[in-house]
Amino acid sequence: MVKFYESSFTYDYTFPAVTLAYFLRYPNPYSTHVLSTDVISRSVDPVSGRLHTLRIHRKSSRLPPAVLKLLPKSVLGNVRSGRSESYILETSTIDIKEGWMKTESKNLDWTGILSVVEKQEYRRQIPVDEGDDFRVGAGTTGVTTTVMFRSRLGERLRARGTRKGEAAVAEVDDEPKKGFLSSWSTSGIQRSIEAIASRKTENQLGKSKEGMMIVLERLRSGGLVGVLDGMRRDRELAFGREKM
């Protein structure tokens, strides 16, 4: 039960600028749902010179209401009693010599209901030396985005119940037998959840591209200082001055 979404795009900015914007993309006016970003680990491979970064983003988003409607009460109980925020784990690898960056983001919560994995591959598109000044608008950067949705509702809950023998999870497992799923198969619900997530993702990918564009434009017009100033303003607008 897997669904894919794929798209390609070319940024009219150099590869170094795009990688910098990637690290600096939150906050921006299109990302008010992203509450925080932290670096869990970061290292430069001494042999390849590649930069590996592991980050965790906290978002204020909940499951889409249309997905919530499809879920049995026992599962909803778990979701609603939990936080109204979710966490995204993001890995990125940059090879500045070869001119590419690969990223992968996935949700850490609700993985039993829906897993979303977004992979991106950025590549430098001008083979000539584009210089090392990221403010110079020379060269372009291509990006291919692949998103995979997978709803493991049912299978996952059962597997978990067996593995850990959790009472709460076992109750969830019993629920379908009592009739909730009798008129509609689990796979039907899985497909619906995936379809809803897919529509939502197309919308969000557009927004994340807009956010990158704003950060890139700030970089081009004001350099690093311009980006940081913009961030400060966005943060004030989104979270209010008291939190600064």
Partner: protein
């Protein structure tokens, strides 16, 4: 700069982020960044973040994410 998930880590995070951005844009992007010059600042930030992740139960979620990854890989192997 983006906020930390733990407000108590905002200060150390900002110091580390500032160091990293300087190193990244002035050295790494120019092919001169072979070693991490912000390691000491990262150590402070990491110390704060690690206990914050633990307090909030996020460390366990991270571990589960890794275990899940392994689990689905194994399932995939069995299928093929």
């Amino acid at each position: 700069m983006s906020a930390s998930l733990a407000p108590e880590c905002d200060g150390v995070k900002e110091r580390y982020d500032t160091c990293f951005l300087k190193w990244y844009s002035e050295k790494y992007l120019r092919g001169k960044g072979t070693e991490d010059e912000c390691a000491a600042l990262f150590k402070d930030y990491k110390k704060c973040l690690t206990s914050a992740l633990k307090e909030r139960g996020i460390d366990q979620m991270l571990e589960e994410a890794r275990a899940d990854h392994k689990e689905s890989d194994e399932a995939h192997m069995r299928r093929s």
